[in-house]
Amino acid sequence: MQRRWLSAAAILASFSLVVACTPAPAPAGGGGTDKGEIIIASNFPTSGADRASGRGPEAGVAYAVQLNSSIKGFKITHKPYDDSVNGVHDPQKGAQNFNDIVGNAKILGVVGPFNSNVARATIPVANRASLVMISPSNTNECLTQTFSYCDPQPAALRPTGKNNYFRIAAPDTVQGPAMADFSVDVLKATKVAVWSDNETFGKGVADNFGKEIVKKGGTVVVRQDFDWKTTNDFRPFLQRAKDAGAQAIYAGATSATHGCIPRAQMKSIFTTDIPYMGPDGIGTSDCITDAGDNANANLYFTNAAAEAAQDPANKALIDDFKSKFTAKEDLAAYTFPGYDCAKILLDAISRAIDTAGGKMPTREQVVQAVQDTNKLKLSTGTYSFDKNGDPTSATMAFYQYQTAAKDWVFVKQFSVGG
């Protein structure tokens, strides 16, 4: 009995070996894909509550690969990874994904992760394997820049000493203060109540927002951090804000960490409505639902990347994307930043193939090629990188909820750095 099983297994194994060794038939025409396969991985939180954030960029990467299915004789494929556990992004899961990614020799680069705390756990894993990663949305400043308060410091995340991490989003040091400037200069709100979800990202933007408000001569009238997993009750905080004369409220949170639930609760506390602002994390359709009947023109968020739709040149691209990716979460704030990251990677791989003399490039060659990206014009901006991996010029966009459109609408955008 046992021997029969063994022989069956052996036959099966040899059969699969034969299949594996048979060269895949090259598709007719085009660039040809006979030189082998290059995989671009993506790592985003794409299940549960975080799907609203993570699916957009994942779809962006999938779309970019769909449009560029072969480069210089190599077949390009996309391998998506999901870093959420129980619906929420998870650094350990991210690191586990990256261990799998670095073990796959065909993967020459990763687009992602979405969240800064996942980046912190995954950069060292990729760094040891000299694997390039490009994030469309990581904004924590400590991932790339050295500040006294950073723990860990960027150098500690890069054990080989050589940078492998790039991003196209503006760091939090920009996103928080940009909204603070907007609050003081445009909304004329100088007394602001600030809360955060007590996570790396949320607390980071909230702190930077507060610093800039003070710098501009305003005051932070109440400052609170919430354990979002156990509370939905924001009334005491809102009451305190009201009593302190707050002219606006800033939420350092994402829609998954209850970023817009206080907005709905404001309705029964504030008799006169005041603006409610937050970072890119609240720029989702979930936020609008959570805000309920208090979703109105007093709801704002910043996006650390440009709005692709603002450039008329992108119209055909966006229309084509919409026809191929039709789910609600597919087109979100970070879809085209995700697409652009994949394009940067594809462009770098193409140059790295040349460096390698037309053969499969090494991962080190791809890292170098991304670093050498020179004013690459894409849907959300023109990208080059400094030695830290930050974009040399990033765009900050402001969005406001519009009742008539029942959606976020673009207010304005400007370039920072450069």
Binding site: D233, P236, H258, Q265, G292
Partner: protein
Amino acid sequence: MGTIGEAVRRRRSGLRAGVAGRILDFALIAIIAVFLILLGTKVVDHGGSFFLQILTFAVANGGIYALIALGYTMVYGIIELINFAHGDVFAFGAFLSASLLPVFGLREGGEFGPGSAVALLAVFALTMLACGFLNISIERIAYRPLRHAPRLAPLITAVGVSFFLEGALFLWKGPSNVHYPNVIPNAGFELFGATIGAKDLLVITVSIVLMIGLALFVGRTRLGKAMRATAQDRDAALLMGIDIDRTIAATFFIGAILAGAGGTMYGLYYNTSVFDLGFSAGLVAFTAAVFGGIGNIYGAAIGGMIIGIIRTFWDGYFDSAWTDVIIFTILILVLIFRPTGILGMRVPEK
């Protein structure tokens, strides 16, 4: 057969006798004193109307937790099972009532007239009944067959039922936060500078009425008496001709209708719910039940109230990031000195 009470008395006298016990006593009093002084200065700082406002929120909050805690404590009292699925029955109540509101013509931003009040009452009634029947089915399917099994078996089944319900709620309304329609008017009346909103009033009134109703039911009716008898000694109750199965089912039913009311009010009050709400809210409510003395319905009501008050006052006057730490610190302190909770456990240990 030693009772918990005896054990406690022994333990407490042992504690009190030692020098360490006295130091602990002193430390507890000192901690409470420091906290009260700290709170006092904060209260003076923020003024009386803010205090009254926070107190209103706190009582409303506490009322909701108390309603959930009652379900835990009643079931524990009668069959000594921690019904982990109870929090999820509460979440089911929030989900169901959110779906029922529009059916009864209650929409966000709509007018709230006398007709709406009747509709709201209907939503409450239907949700409470549905939760009751859900809990009875859970008891029938998952707990009754295991009644004579070792105690760990039904406990694990309860965890399983909890996951099952969470999964069902996940499939029903998806992973994101579910917005609960804001149908209660935002208006309220002024009282010494604080605004007592219609929502606060509704939640406080309904929870107090339900709790008084429960106390009367358990204390005055035949079925209530049967419940108390079953909790005290199941075999003796059986010998006296009490239908044990029916009594236990009734306990599950009543616990769940309170949870259904709690779920509806949670939604109306916070305007949000989520598929795993039962876990986080259930944990707080279970803590409240232990705090007050699990098995004792007055204890659960008091425990829920106290936890609601601590939580809201800490959020209002101090740093919210520490709220849970504070609640559990107080819980530990209370349990060190009163291992059976504030009111102790009324059921004898078997």
